[in-house]
Homo-oligomer: 318 residues x 2
């Protein structure tokens, strides 16, 4: 079964593998061309420019892996190689789909050099949702969930406290087929999360990363008109995104850095979305306004395969 998986990945995801070949998705990008004063990442390598050697900074990667065990079975994927190539300090994962009983075995083998890892699993539905933060640096404190039992049974949120900020890794509930969960998502989850972030912000700036399950604007989705009633692009979710996050002082770092970039972080498996770049930008780094000018770059790594999402990155000057 291992071998089978690995071969299939090679076959079906050819070109979106570890060798960083620049594939379709990027060719239709309309990033601003690099120009004098450009701070964005290189549209050819899709990697950010180096940070000056004397500038203290931290590098974050955030990735909805759509099942961590499946990812780790892929021959085309190596966590170690990803770490060496991207050199992140902190890795945030969403949709690990792990059960509590599987966490220990995985945490110990996943990544050497990142000895601080914090995992949360859905206790209501096994093998569903699940998030984790894996860090080189030991945080000052850890919190699982937001302290509201209605929102904390699906392993969707981990908060780490560092010296200069809180880092929140979140997998926002999908509104689901027929938008059955839209009321919960908008009326309860998003508002509670916004409140929780504002609470934390009273002591330190906040970074929220993860799959926020909302493509904010038309530029963030391949077919805006056709998806007005699709989970993740309803007016309600987009409005909620603005009201609860942007309107409360959190900055969409990628969009701020790359105002005109058509760049996606998710491509559904269903209709060859990745091949045809029928994507959505659902994965974010939002930061408190007070630290938004410390962003060296926010970026997306669409060449990293193994999931229906690609990782997104943030480099923050300290």
């Amino acid at each position: 079964t291992r071998v089978e998986k690995k071969l299939s990945s090679r076959i079906t995801k050819a070109g979106v593998t570890e060798n960083l070949s620049v594939d379709e998705p990027w060719t239709v990008l309309t990033h601003k061309k690099p120009q004098k004063g450009w701070t964005g990442y290189d549209p050819k390598t899709m990697r950010p420019p180096p940070v000056a050697a004397d500038t203290p900074h931290m590098k974050f990667l955030s990735w909805n892996v759509n099942g961590l065990r499946a990812l780790l079975k892929l021959e085309s994927f190596s966590a170690l190689q990803l770490a060496q190539r991207e050199d992140f300090d902190v890795l945030c994962l969403q949709e690990t789909k792990l059960q509590e009983k599987d966490v220990n075995a995985i945490r110990e083998t996943l990544l050497q050099g990142y000895d601080n890892s914090y995992w949360t699993c859905s206790v209501s539905k096994l093998g569903y949702s699940g998030t984790a933060i894996i860090s080189r640096i030991k945080p000052l404190s850890v919190r699982y969930g937001m302290g509201i039992s209605d929102h904390d049974s699906e392993g969707r949120l981990v908060t780490l406290e560092f010296d200069n900020f809180y880092l929140l890794n979140c997998y926002v509930p999908n509104s689901g087929d027929g938008l059955r969960r839209l009321p919960y998502r908008i009326g309860e989850w998003d508002t509670s999360l916004g409140n929780y972030m504002k609470d934390l912000e009273q002591s330190k700036p906040v970074i929220l990363t993860g799959d926020l399950n909302c493509a904010h604007e038309e530029i963030d989705i391949f077919n805006p008109a056709g998806n007005k009633r699709s989970a993740g692009f309803t007016d309600e979710e987009r409005k909620s995104f603005e009201t609860n996050f942007l309107g409360r002082g959190f900055v969409d770092t990628f969009r701020k850095q790359h105002p005109n970039a058509v760049a996606y972080s998710y491509w559904g498996y269903r209709h060859g979305g990745r091949r045809t770049n029928k994507g959505w930008r659902l994965d974010y780094f939002l930061v408190s306004e007070s630290i938004s000018d410390k962003v060296h770059d926010a970026y997306i790594l669409p060449d990293v395969g193994g999931s229906d999402h690609s990782p997104v990155g943030l480099i923050l000057k300290l």
Copy 2:
């Protein structure tokens, strides 16, 4: 997904493929050596001796395919090649795991030259059980089930009437984990099936083939001592096999032909059973005593892969 399946089959089932390479399973066989007057099949090719050109006969193959759609996806499997190689007149399948809605598409593409096919599916549990008979010759009549509604909802039995016999293709209920279904299996199914066969026998001889889910004697299983409480080798099932079938005048054709052959037709996937020949003989051709001397040969084709069972064969002189 197609490609994936096919590759995996090549890899995991190497050696048990279409090229008829004689693999492990057979090397420990203790068939009687071919000798003067030997009528059994060649232990090297595992195929029966030819029938004299002027002897009218029919050739039957019977196979628990463990999911027909999965089998047909395998690159290593071709129904046409199987038909050409084995030249059967009638093919009986068990555990097709088809739903009614999938039958038509499959029946039309499965085998040219075998235009008479009769399919039955479980209506109680979708994708469970299911049997079929595929024939060159058009039968005189067809019957699905045995006319007892308690036993007819899982698509386990098809009866075809030919000129000189009834052919029953059956997938006997597995007694299940913890032997939870043993009482039903013994007390209801086996007895009802025996009665049904005796009823039919009043008009014509009967042939029963299929996965009878019982290894009759110690010789029919790799580890008799360790499986005394395993479904398929309990004393209750073995006794029922004798009482309801052998004791009522139906002959185990393979065992009659090859009294000392250690030969299996099933190897569980769970512990590399096929590789190590940890097998069971669960698949049979039983025939009415009145035609038991018309058996040219009964045999097993352990070199045919793609399922946890191998096909079994019968050649009957007419």
